[in-house]
């Protein structure tokens, strides 16, 4: 017993894996009932409160659009501008914490106990965590972000009358110096898509996997708080944490589905002349939701995994194609060069205090960190679900280092070709195009543009389908108190609900934007949640057997 008190209630290791002794059993607060023909198995407070709160927020946004818009944008501005130092410092801590786990002996702890074997092979596992993590973002920002940062860096520093910088260049910019602007632009892009976001996901995923597979607690966000809150975690503290996670996940998915539909519509208009309008966008959301429903009904292995593998294959082919038909050698040297530039600028870019490039630091970095963190309950939970049987070291290498490298390669190839089109050929169509068209404008300059653009659209749609499907899976697990075998109609409900919220917000003026600001604002409370998770992970790992 002395070990128990010394270790905050976590028993010392005796067997292959030691579960935490708690009076709570998974599903004890659940209600099992029959509504019409469908069986339900839901965690009552979490399911009801999150469902009702979502409806209330949607109605509020619809009923008082202007008020909601100003409230949420004020909240968003306050969060990203006043707490920029907090987001930057916390994200640095997450990266250092993950790197520390790789090199310390706790890295050999196996998720699921010493005897556990991985649930998935490397390819399926990697495809799933990548598709959930950022697949869709890479499609939209792979071309756009390097171009933007390259442009602002080249423009250099401009100072307003009050002595505050008005430019959006990262750090000190690189006025007039094309090579230096390219390096700085790519370093800034890679900074936002490399180690930091993946460390955020890794912390959440590792906390959930550890406390679920090794400690026997339900697979839900609150379990990671057991070492801190003890038995209170099963009460209102836990309900609040889980509701917040459901809330961020559903609104995050619904708003990005809404925006995604607008973007896909623009792409289809450009390529095939499909009319732009709410009818097309509603049809797109309905179509994506319908395909996601088929995937939901096929389950994790038959649905999400298959789609993720198809997408990874297609994305790889597109990457290879752009690499080969573009300036191959320059792109490959660029990859190495940009990686070096990233490491060189990393200390300055991640510095949380005393920054002069406030527009860049608050408008880009702080925004991105809040954004990744508000997605982390969803992505982290999904990664945890598919990562049983890996050692902590293997987990961090595969969730932090490899995805970071892949993102760097992706950005170097897509962004590199786009920047080269501007610098070498003077082709500025991609640079001038709106966000949703940049990828297609870049592809238009390469051979076989018709085929590659269609692949691009398919990738965008399938990435949305996998998000919608895996999001439904995650929300259902949280609202079922951590049960993974709750009746499938519940997952169907969340999938349709998410599509419906997206459609309602799409049809209201400004609804999507204002709710997206609110979602990103949830990044602030979740940053605190993530910091607590680091402490919990460390305590939990110290009490595990190392193999």
């Amino acid at each position: 017993m002395s070990d128990d008190t010394e270790n905050h209630g976590i028993p010392a290791p005796e067997g292959a894996s030691d579960v935490i002794e708690t009076e709570y059993s998974v599903g004890q607060d659940n209600i099992e009932t029959q509504i019409g023909p469908f069986g339900l198995d839901i965690h009552n407070p979490v399911f009801m409160i999150s469902g009702l709160a979502i409806v209330v927020f949607v109605f509020y946004t619809l009923a008082l659009p202007e008020q909601a818009g100003s409230v949420f944008s004020w909240l968003f501005d306050t969060v990203t501008k006043s707490f920029d130092w907090f987001f930057l410092s916390a994200a640095n801590i997450f990266v250092l914490f993950c790197l520390l786990l790789i090199v310390t002996p706790v890295g050999s702890v196996r998720l699921g106990g010493a005897e556990a074997r991985p649930d998935y092979g490397y390819i399926g596992w990697f495809a799933m965590l990548f598709a959930a993590g950022m697949g869709i973002g890479l499609m939209f920002y792979g071309v756009s972000e390097p171009l933007t940062h390259f442009g602002t860096s080249l423009g250099g520093v401009t100072v307003g009358e009050n002595g505050v910088r008005t430019d959006w260049a990262p750090l000190g910019g690189a006025e007039g110096d094309v090579i230096a602007a390219e390096r700085l632009g790519f370093a800034a892009t890679i900074f936002h898509w490399g180690l930091h976001p993946w460390a955020i996901y890794a912390v959440v995923a590792l906390a959930l996997a550890l406390f679920s597979y090794n400690k026997g607690l339900p697979l839900t966000i609150r379990s990671a708080f057991y070492p801190i809150l003890g038995e209170r975690v099963w009460g209102w503290w836990g309900h609040v944490i889980d509701v917040l996670a459901v809330f961020a996940t559903l609104f995050g998915l619904a708003t990005s589905l809404g925006f995604g539909a607008t973007q896909a519509n623009a792409g289809l208009n450009e390529l095939f002349g499909v009319p732009i309008g709410s009818t097309t966008q509603v049809l797109l959301i309905s179509g994506i939701t319908a395909i996601a429903l088929v995937s939901v009904l096929r389950g994790l292995d038959g649905g999400v995994k298959v789609l993720s593998e198809i997408n990874m294959g297609l994305a790889f082919l597109l990457l290879l194609f752009v690499l080969l038909v573009g300036p191959t050698l320059a792109t490959l040297t660029g990859f190495v060069d940009y990686l070096g530039a990233y490491l060189q600028h990393l200390p300055a870019l991640s510095n949380p205090v005393g920054r002069e490039d406030l527009n860049f630091e608050q408008g880009w970095t702080s925004f991105y960190w809040a954004w990744w963190i508000s997605w982390s309950p969803f992505v982290g939970m999904f990664i945890a679900r598919v990562s049983r049987g890996r050692t902590v070291r293997e987990f961090i290498v595969c969730v932090l280092l490899i995805p970071s490298l892949v993102c760097i390669l992706w950005m170097s190839v897509f962004g590199g070709v786009a920047v080269d089109q501007v610098v070498s050929d003077g082709y500025t169509a991609a640079q001038d195009a709106p966000l949703e068209l940049k990828l297609f404008k870049m592809l238009a300059e390469l051979p076989l543009a018709g085929i590659t653009s269609i692949i691009g659209i398919v990738l965008v749609i399938v990435f949305f389908v996998t998000s919608s499907d895996s999001g439904s899976l995650v929300i259902d697990t949280i609202t079922a108190g951590g049960k993974v075998d709750a009746p499938v109609p519940q997952r169907v409900f969340w999938c349709i609900f998410e599509g419906a919220v997206a459609i309602v917000l799409l049809l209201s003026a400004g609804g999507l934007a204002s709710l997206q600001s609110m979602v990103i604002s949830t990044g602030l409370p979740f940053t605190i949640v993530l910091l607590v998770m680091c402490v919990a992970i460390w305590r939990g790992l110290m009490a595990e057997r190392r193999s």
Partner: protein, 139 residues
């Protein structure tokens, strides 16, 4: 006539399938058949067990208790699934092949309108199993 009966069970709701368990026990005694209790579960902690190992040992204990109760020979076979809610039927069908059962005896509810849209587990097993299937309506 039957030598090996597969009895799919849901340990979280063992009380609800009593009619099926009793019938299975009687069938086994009548034919002198062996019963293998099969359960499909995820590797995540659930209401029955914290770990897959604990689940397997609970299923083993359940099978032993049924052997005692009905005076029959029993075994336990647990199947770990990545997504038990969706994969249940396919895993059960595969388990029937794997253990070489010649009869499946399982509980199911009385079909209603919803079964046209969402077939019951028992319904799907009966439709696809290669061996005889005995559905015991108890719910």
């Amino acid at each position: 006539m039957f030598r090996h009966i597969m009895a799919p069970v849901d340990l979280a709701h063992a009380g609800r399938i009593e009619a099926a368990l009793k019938t299975t026990g009687e069938l086994a005694r009548h034919y002198g058949a062996r019963v293998t209790y099969v359960a499909v579960h995820g590797s995540e902690p659930g209401s029955v067990a914290h770990t897959p190992e604990e689940f397997a040992s609970k299923l083993g204990a359940f099978a032993a208790a049924e052997a005692e109760r009905h005076g029959i020979e029993t075994a336990a076979h647990d199947v770990v699934s990545h997504d038990p809610a969706v994969d249940l039927d396919d895993k059960l069908l595969a388990a029937a092949d794997e253990i070489g059962a010649d009869l499946i005896a399982m509980a199911s509810h009385v079909p209603g309108l919803a079964d046209h849209l969402w077939p019951s587990n028992g319904g799907k097993i009966a439709r696809h199993a290669k061996v005889s299937t005995f559905i015991i309506r108890g719910l």
